[in-house]
């Protein structure tokens, strides 16, 4: 128990270095954290957010049945194996996303449900996003409170959408109203942030032993110095020695975990895979590893940016996405948009499959997670923000009422869903942005 507390103290130190610095963690830390997560007494609830840009052809997205679902829609078909672990919610809206720069605000309102200040300067202002509020709560016990990922190696600055700063279009997650968190798209950088150099379990063990032997010598040298110094300086050396011992304890613990085979070999990716599909799957693989090692509990992932002109030959669509979404109701074009939607959803299905295949405690990673996949735009042809495509998946530790389609008669704030998710991870707020209440149908009532 003492060791756990120490590990938490280390976390707060890490946070102190600021968000700007990519932090390659000492590899040894990872398995130590695994042990914490695997404690059966504390089921971990994780939150994941996956963003699909530019809405959807909603007719193809919406499942045919209301309430209990036996089958999914054409667009969501790839999710069928997890039917009982997902809920489709129709007719949610983002009132605050309406703006002169709808692409920018569709993206940034998705997790904030807030109105972006119209500026192309550095005086941008939004709100703390739902993932970051959760991260402050459930992320504080993991080495990284949250991770922000994207697919585009793109860093634009200045104005991006009719006077809206590029930060709105680039960043889903904001840790404060004025702090957008840049997302990382490079798999190697993501990996190193999570696991340092990685390597096979045996290689990592060998490195740990070397570090342990170095620290032995450091301790001995500090002890030797102590004999030659006055009282105050000895106190200082004691502090150093305590720090060294703390790292030694972590290494011992990590070494034991790696011997017990609790973490797989960690193979560091080299570059960015050539194909979009491989890149996206690799990014999902990294998320699974991060969750498995309990390196982080909150992840946001942008599958593509708003206004992206990417083509998806993998899905049989060679038209650039953004122009295609301005389909003017042309059924041919709408069908192609639906193909892109189905393709993005199939990547999400890949993620669910991996989580479902990874054991944790008595269940799987999927059982202990809550994942939201969707868009901040409804009909991309008119840039609206109502009837948003939204799916919630996972188990929420057995609490999600899966296999259901909730459809609201009247447009209902997406913020209601955010409020519900926060409630489920233990952040009990009265309201979130423009929320009007919680979505009671989503989760089973809390057991007494």
């Amino acid at each position: 128990m003492i060791i756990q507390k120490k590990a938490i103290a280390r976390r707060s130190l890490l946070r102190g270095f600021g968000a700007g610095l990519a932090l390659p963690l000492l590899d040894a830390m990872v398995p130590a954290m695994t042990a914490l997560a695997a404690t059966p007494a504390a089921p971990v609830r994780r939150l994941g957010f996956v963003y699909i840009p530019m809405g959807a052809t909603i007719a193809q997205w919406t499942p045919p049945e209301l309430g209990r679902m036996t089958r999914l829609s054409p667009t969501l078909n790839s999710l069928t194996p997890y039917l009982n672990q997902l809920t489709v919610i129709s007719n949610l809206e983002l009132k605050n996303a309406y703006s002169p720069g709808n692409h920018a605000t569709a993206n940034c309102s998705f997790l904030s449900a807030a109105k972006a200040k119209l500026t192309e300067g550095t005086d941008y202002e939004l709100a703390t996003t739902v993932d970051q509020i959760a991260a402050q709560h459930i992320g504080k016990d993991s080495p990284l409170p949250s991770m922000e990922l994207a697919m585009d190696l793109l860093s634009t600055i200045g104005s991006c959408d009719n006077g809206y700063s590029c930060v709105y279009q680039n960043n889903l997650s904001w840790s404060s109203p004025t702090t957008p968190l840049p997302a990382e798209a490079h798999p190697r950088l993501v990996f190193e942030r999570l696991f340092g150099d990685g390597g096979s379990a045996a290689e990592r063990r060998a490195e740990m032993r070397k570090n342990a032997s170095i620290l032995d010598w450091v301790s001995a040298d500090i002890a030797r110095l102590q004999g030659q110094l006055g009282f105050q300086d000895r106190t200082k050396l004691n502090e150093y020695l305590e720090s060294v011992r703390e790292v030694e304890r972590r290494i011992q613990k990590a070494e034991k975990q790696s011997t017990d085979g609790e973490m797989p070999d960690l193979d560091r990716p080299i570059g960015v895979p050539a194909s979009y599909a491989e890149h996206a799957k690799l990014m999902f693989d990294l998320q699974v590893l991060a969750m498995q090692g309990d390196v982080t509990r909150v992840i946001s992932f942008q599958l593509a940016r708003e206004a992206s002109t990417r083509v998806y030959p993998e899905a049989g669509v060679t038209d650039p996405h953004h122009p295609l979404t301005h389909h003017s109701g042309d059924p041919e074009k709408m069908a192609r948009v639906a193909k892109i939607n189905a393709y993005h959803v199939s990547l999400f299905a890949y993620f669910l499959g991996k989580l479902n295949a990874t054991k944790e405690g008595n269940g799987t990673l999927l059982d202990n997670s809550l994942l939201l996949c969707g868009s901040g735009m409804g009909n991309p042809d008119v840039h609206d923000h109502v009837n948003l495509p939204i799916v919630v998946a996972g188990g929420a530790a057995g609490n999600l009422k899966g296999g259901r389609h909730i459809k609201y008669d009247q447009p209902t704030p997406l913020a209601n869903l955010h409020l519900t998710l926060l409630d489920k991870v233990g952040v009990h707020l009265d309201a979130f942005a423009d929320s009007q209440g919680k979505i009671s149908e989503l989760l089973k009532p809390a057991a007494l």
Binding site: L13, F17, L21, A22, P24, L25, L26, M29, E120, G121, T122, D152, L153, L154, S155, T156, I157, G158, S159, C160, D161, N162, G163, C166, R188, L189, G196, G199, E207, K210, N211, S213, I214, L215, W217, V218, A220, D221, I222, L225, Q228, L229, K236, L237, Y240, S243, V244, E246, V247, D267, R268, I270, G271, A274, A307, S308, V311, P320, H322, P323
Partner: protein, 761 residues
Amino acid sequence: MKLAYVLFGCVISALAQPPATRAMFNRYCIGCHSEQARAGGVSLQNSFSPTVSERAVRQLSHRHMPPLGLPRPDDATYKLVVNELTATLDATAARHPQAGRPGTFRRLNRLEYHNAIRDLLAVEYNVTSLLPADETSHGFDNIAVENLSPILIERYLSAAQKISRLALGSPVRKPSSELIMIPPDLTQEEHVPGLPHGTRGGAIATHNFPVNAQYEIQVRLSRDRDERVEGLDVAHQVELTLDGTRLGLFTVTPTPRGQDHQNVDKHLTVKLAVKAGPHQLGVSFPRKTAALLETGRQPYQAHFNMDRHPRVQPALYSITVLGPFDAVGSGDSPSRRRLFVCGEQTDACAKQILSTVLRRAYRRPIHADDLTAPLEFYRKAKAEGGFDNGIEMALRALLVNPQFLFRIEKDPANANKSPYQLSGPELASRLSFFLWSTIPDDTLLDLAEQDKLKDPAVIEQQVRRMLADPRSESLVTNFAAQWLYLRNLAAITPDPRLFPDFDENLRQSMQRETELFFASVLREDQPATTLLKAPYTFLNERLARHYGIPHIYGSRFRRVDLTGQPSRGGLLSHASILTVTSYATRTSPVIRGKWILANILGTPPSAPPPAVPELKEAVRTPGAKMLSMRERVAEHRKNPACAGCHNLMDPIGFAFENYDAVGRWRSTDGGAPVDASGLLPDGTKFQNAAELNQALLLRPELFVSALTEKLLIYALGRGIERYDAPAIRKIVRDAEKNQYRFSSLLLGIATSTPFTMRQSQ
């Protein structure tokens, strides 16, 4: 209380006070500073402590007291009283020197660590990705460095592993990738210094190739928000060079309408064999045309944003180096040459290698027992993986040893709460970290071991030698960059609507001007006062156009004569400093005034009281007269709680109102003519920045003292205390005989009591 001062032997009693001081205090001061009134907690009525005396010296030297508007003595009286007071203080200091006590353990900060690795192992390693930035204290980041947290230890372990591997050129388990990113707001329409003539844009970067092997180099072009390669309307060529030799010339062509740009730059990749060591990678675009862009409005010089000022031609986004593949050994890299002082793979040679590197790393003579553990690491690892593996492991271990990571200054055995002379090796480290921001070289270590650094003549000779060495560039990039706030420039982005022509190129140019200018004063050993007033500066075309100075063409910086350019010359007219002391939307006379007080005059105002409202931004309501900056600032000088300091700060800051928030000259602000008149705390009135400069130079000792204090803080790694004042006065007095030449300040510090001595506990 009084008794305590007497015990310290330095109470200045009423009787002992020199006559002029007493007379002046009685006439001008004790109205407020009486035993009863004690304004500011100070009484000058009877006796007072050296601390109060030093405060009085500062207030009187700067003519801050008595406050403007009250009766003041004439200048001669001021000087006389200051001389009397300092004579007493300095005499006491000479009898009882106080050296101060920087921490026993001072960790190398991130930059010092980087430089130490460079000089120890001839390895350029980008440590910013491995180590956290250091906290700033007293204006510098080498002060608050006495900590060693678990996270830091983890980082040092990780860095030691990577660096020792790189130094030896050890076989790499698995190829990796290094990503070199170009700042997104870098305009790439013009030539970049260092890249071939006839090209424009791109970047040049030094990359450390770990082993002799195959590497793959990939180039990616910058995209706009629609993920299309910006400025790619017609075909362009891209050239990739290694150490100036062409590796490939590629053509990128726009795709037909309706297709995306995913694959436009996929072919910009080269795989080739590279020898271990640092090499320069260059990417550039052969220039297509010198024709101007045809636009409906005046073209900007900044081109990086699709909406506001789009790129005209494609630009570099990143260079990726993948590898090593098919490694063929460690080769003969600079780091191996530095490390392997002998050639045989024997234990005797290993001992020689390790004792050489250990002496440099610990910065002191090495004893037999220092070698025990490193040799043990060597032997064990050698048994597992050969000679190189043994050296690598010993190196890895010593890079985490506190005797490398910390500068340790130990009290001598016989010291007893008194100042003592630093040992030779300790002094060698103080010199090298002061002038070079790195470990001492062998020459310094040799002199230290021979105990020759006691001799001020030897120190002088060494200081001059060290200043001539390129490593002294750290006085520019480390000391001056912190003193003048240049480091803040990277984080400054003026409002793009108001200053659409600001980009990374301008930011870099601003910084470069000030660095080159400071370096010229240092290298040419000019008077320190030249920093304030110089008939020259350094410009490239971009900055010259920003300043409105004609006939400067090209990306190269050159020395420019400023005759006939009254608005430029000296640090206080540099766009860098004028920008870092402004807000994103407007100038701030308050920040600028405070900057002058703190960094040029050495009299920083105290912190503002809590809960001060912000100045309202100017809102132009129809018909209403817009408040000028001066009028708006005047608002908070009406508040007596604010006025005390703002009466000092604001009137100085007004001098620079002719320079806008990015340092351009202007004669009007918001439609009204600029009023740049103001007042120095000593009552000197001025009409503009040039007159302020003249006023500052009338009493150069004030500026030189401020600069000396900053240098001393940086040199000692501790804040300045009251008892340092006599040493600072001595340095400034001695330098005056040399027209305040820069070297005389550095020499004065290097031979001063606080620098060569330390207080024992």
